[in-house]
């Protein structure tokens, strides 16, 4: 609970920064921060495995990929980059705020008293489930990832310069 109370505001702040920061790289790094904080939150909640996976995948792969892409696609003049605050904030807020309000309202209204819950996430059990109950899903994800790997490599390849 303590960790939750400490981490939640941090996560929100970091996420806010990721959304609002003008420089894309800052936003990307803040996303990494957000995600790693979320990973810590998972660990604090007892899901160490998920937390560590979150670290590995989100921080180690996704976030890095994003900042990497940001670097590659840097525009020629950096002034343009600085000017890129979020645009049409009004409509954005108009969409987002009712949603947020609804969500919070619903949480507030419908939530029963939380039971003490279980904090045990046995990795062995995860493994068993993955390769028994969820084996087809694992297979599907494996195929998906392979396809993604090949596809991404194909997409991102420099178009071959034919004479």
């Amino acid at each position: 609970m303590t960790a939750l109370l400490i981490l939640s505001p941090l996560i929100m702040l970091a996420a806010l920064g990721a959304v609002w920061k003008a420089r894309p790289v800052h936003a990307g790094l803040l996303l990494a921060l957000t995600l790693s904080l979320a990973g810590m939150l998972y660990i604090a909640l007892g899901a160490e495995f998920l937390g560590l996976v979150q670290f590995m995948v989100y921080v180690g792969a996704v976030a890095v990929l994003i900042v990497f892409a940001l670097l590659i696609t840097r525009p020629r003049d950096e002034i343009e980059e600085i000017a890129r605050r979020p645009k049409s904030v009004g409509p954005g807020l108009l969409c987002t705020l009712p949603l947020l309000a609804t969500l919070l309202y619903t949480v507030d209204r419908t939530l029963p008293e939380a039971p003490p819950g279980t904090a045990d996430l046995p990795v062995r059990r995860i493994g068993e489930l993955l390769f028994t109950t969820h084996a087809p899903a694992v297979l599907a994800v494996a195929i998906l990832l392979t396809a993604v790997m090949l596809g991404a490599a194909l997409f991102a390849r420099e178009p071959s310069k034919k004479p």
Partner: protein, 678 residues
């Protein structure tokens, strides 16, 4: 020796036909340039087969046993449904005599061929085909199953086809090959039907199978017990069908026409296939299934038919042979005639006589053909006897061998196997209770045989060389001559084992021990028959001598007889017009029928189909048009109106995803607000 061999006999028996077949297969893969190797391979395989065959024959000579030696093996070839089809080999005196003869004669003909065909481009191929033939022929004689016999029978036909068509560049050879195959196939189809009929009736195709075989009592009783159309027993009907098969193969009238044409093949082929062995397969087959033919009371329909057909063939072919000019054609017709003799013997119950004549004929007819080959070889390929004459000097050694064969065929007394075998046949025909017709026909044929052989001998070897004719005839090399003498010796020596004094051969075939019997001539009027034979030979040879003693030197001069016989001569010259008859009565109508069917196909069926198609097409056009004019037009109009109106509305589409998303989001937000708060 024979005892030591006994346990291995089944294997050895299979090996006898398979060795030449394997050699043929191997030769098939050799290139043409390796002809010498091919010939050595073929001769080697056949030599081993020959040794094995003689050993096997030796095994059947067990004296003192009062029932025929019979060794059978069988194995399941395939199963269909629950039924198994068995094939096997059979060794009894009949097949033993045949394998010994086939391998021995064939071996010498092989050797002869290495000389005769030496200049041939496709030398190796030739030996491959010969090997194939020998293997198949041996399979025919060894088969213990009608099916296996039929299979080998057809393979023999294939080999014959290939060898007749060996000079396929010649259209006549190609046509002769096709004719041979198709004519024999007519018989084969009857054989096929007969075989299937027997199989359906008895459930087996094995000849001897420990009491369950086709030729054993149970099956025979079943065959005789069922009658079919025309009041014939199944036995008779099937036997007649088999007889048709035998007629095709053995060139009996009216399926004989292919055999003279088959002389288009190389001479060794004529000797081996179309004189000694294959054409005798029909006779052998009838002899093999003789129990079916003779299945019934007394003189059965099948036997009668066999005897009459044999007699007619014998006389017919002898007549035709008188009026031929081609060296080999004369011999071919003589073969047909002699096969007729064998059929007479079979029809009149003389299986032993028929088999003996078969073996003896194989020797002396092979000898005659080989001599003919030697003559043709020496005359640079000339085959017309009118252009020869006086060859006894330049071709003295050939002439010697030829004269032995000629005398055997003509039935010169005592020293020659032909005399004794013909004697036995006439004897069998004479005592036949079914009538004297076949006997009379055979006697007439025997007379003519002596006549036309004398004619041939005189025209070819005596007198002076005719002009225009053969220039510089020369003697053949030793490799050609040695086989001649070997066969000549055989033709003479065979006469020792089947005289009435010591009828060893016939008894052996029947499975009895032979005794020396000095008084044989005293029985059944045999002495009279002997005198008749002597008279026939004398008259025949004398008449020949009288007519052809002095023939003009001009090779263009007509035959002395042609003037006297007039139109009859021309009829004989054309072999009584069988070919023309078939052309008009069968081939022509068949071709017309085929064209008619083709015309119906193209003229009626296809137009019907096309008409149906047109109807469909018209329907399609109609619906298409209605779609085009009616439905589509209306739809297009509606669409274009809609398009115009839509153009105005498309301004809202900015192409910016986020503006779309925002719109969606606003919508969702409004919905949420409505849903939750109102």
């Amino acid at each position: 020796m024979a005892e030591a061999l006994q346990p291995h006999l089944p294997t050895l028996l299979w090996a006898i036909p398979l060795l030449p077949l394997l050699a043929a297969t191997a030769v098939a893969f050799l290139p043409d340039a390796r002809g010498r190797i091919a010939s050595k391979l073929a001769i080697g395989a056949l030599g081993v087969s020959c040794v094995l065959a003689l050993l096997a024959t030796a095994c059947t000579l067990t004296p003192g046993v009062d029932k025929p030696f019979r060794l059978t093996t069988s194995a399941t070839w395939f199963t269909f449904g629950e039924s198994a089809l068995k094939v096997g080999v059979l060794l009894d005196p009949m097949s033993a005599a045949m394998i010994a003869m086939v391998t021995f004669v064939a071996l010498w003909i092989f050797i002869y061929s290495t000389g005769y065909m030496a200049d041939e481009k496709r030398f190796g191929r030739f030996f491959g085909f010969l090997s194939l033939f020998c293997g198949a022929m041996l399979m025919v004689v060894l088969a213990n199953s009608l099916l296996l016999l039929f299979i080998a029978w057809e393979l023999v036909g294939l080999a014959s086809y290939l060898l007749i068509g060996f000079y396929f560049e010649k259209p006549s050879a190609a046509a002769a090959a096709q004719k041979a195959f198709i004519t024999t196939r007519v018989g084969d189809m009857a054989f096929f039907l007969g075989m299937i009929w027997l199989y359906r009736q008895t459930g087996t195709l094995l000849f001897y199978d420990g009491g369950n075989g086709l030729l054993e009592s149970a099956a025979l009783a079943s065959l005789a017990g069922t009658t079919t159309l025309g009041g014939l027993t199944v036995s008779a009907a099937a036997a007649l069908l088999l007889l048709v098969g035998a007629m095709g193969k053995s060139g009996q009238v009216p399926l004989h026409t292919w055999l003279p044409d088959a002389m288009e093949g190389p001479t060794p082929v004529s000797a081996l296939i179309h004189a000694a062995t294959m054409v005798a397969a029909g006779v052998f087959m009838v002899a093999r299934v003789h129990p079916i033919f003779a299945n019934g009371d007394g003189v059965t329909t099948a036997l009668t038919a066999t005897a009459w057909i044999g007699g007619i063939t014998a006389l017919y072919a002898a007549c035709v042979a008188v009026a031929q000019y081609d060296f080999k054609r004369i011999l071919a017709y003589s073969t047909v005639s002699q096969l007729g003799f064998m059929m007479v013997a079979l029809g009149t119950g003389g299986v032993g006589a028929a088999m003996f004549h078969l073996i003896a004929h194989a020797f002396f007819k092979a000898l005659l053909f080989l001599s003919a080959g030697s003559v043709i070889h020496g005359c640079h390929g000339e085959q017309d006897i009118r252009k020869m004459g006086g060859l006894s000097k330049p071709l003295r050694r050939t002439f010697l061998a030829y004269s032995i064969g000629m005398m055997a065929l003509a039935g010169f007394p005592f020293l020659f196997s032909g005399f004794w075998s013909k004697e036995a046949i006439l004897h069998s025909a004479e005592i036949w209770p079914g009538g004297k017709g076949p006997f009379a026909l055979a006697v007439a044929a025997a007379l003519l045989t002596a006549f036309y052989m004398t004619r041939q001998a005189l025209l070819v070897f005596f007198g002076k060389p005719r002009r225009p004719g053969v220039e510089h005839p020369h003697e053949s090399p030793g490799v050609i001559l040695v086989p001649l003498y070997v066969l000549a010796a055989g033709a003479v020596l065979l006469s020792l084992i089947a005289t009435p004094f010591w009828p060893w051969f016939e008894k052996w075939i029947d499975g009895e021990a032979a005794r020396f019997h000095g008084g044989a001539f005293g029985e059944h009027g045999a002495i009279g028959l002997l005198i008749l034979s002597l008279a026939l030979v004398t008259v025949g040879v004398g008449a020949g001598w009288a007519v052809y003693r002095r023939v003009s030197d001009d090779s263009g001069a007509p035959d002395p007889l042609s003037g006297k016989l007039g139109p009859l001569w021309r009829l004989l010259e054309n072999a009584m017009g069988f070919d023309a008859l078939y052309q008009k009565a069968i081939i022509g109508p068949l071709a017309m029928l085929a064209s008619l069917i083709d015309a119906i196909e193209r003229g009626i069926l296809v137009p019907v189909m096309a008409a149906g198609e047109t109807v469909l097409k018209a329907f399609g056009r109609l619906t298409g048009a209605s779609d085009e004019r009616g439905l589509n037009a209306g739809f297009d109009g509606a669409c274009s109106g809609l398009k115009r109106r839509a153009a105005g509305a498309s301004g809202a589409q900015t192409g910016r995803i986020q503006s779309y998303l925002r719109t969606i989001g606003l919508g969702v937000a409004v919905l949420l607000v409505l849903y939750l708060w109102l």
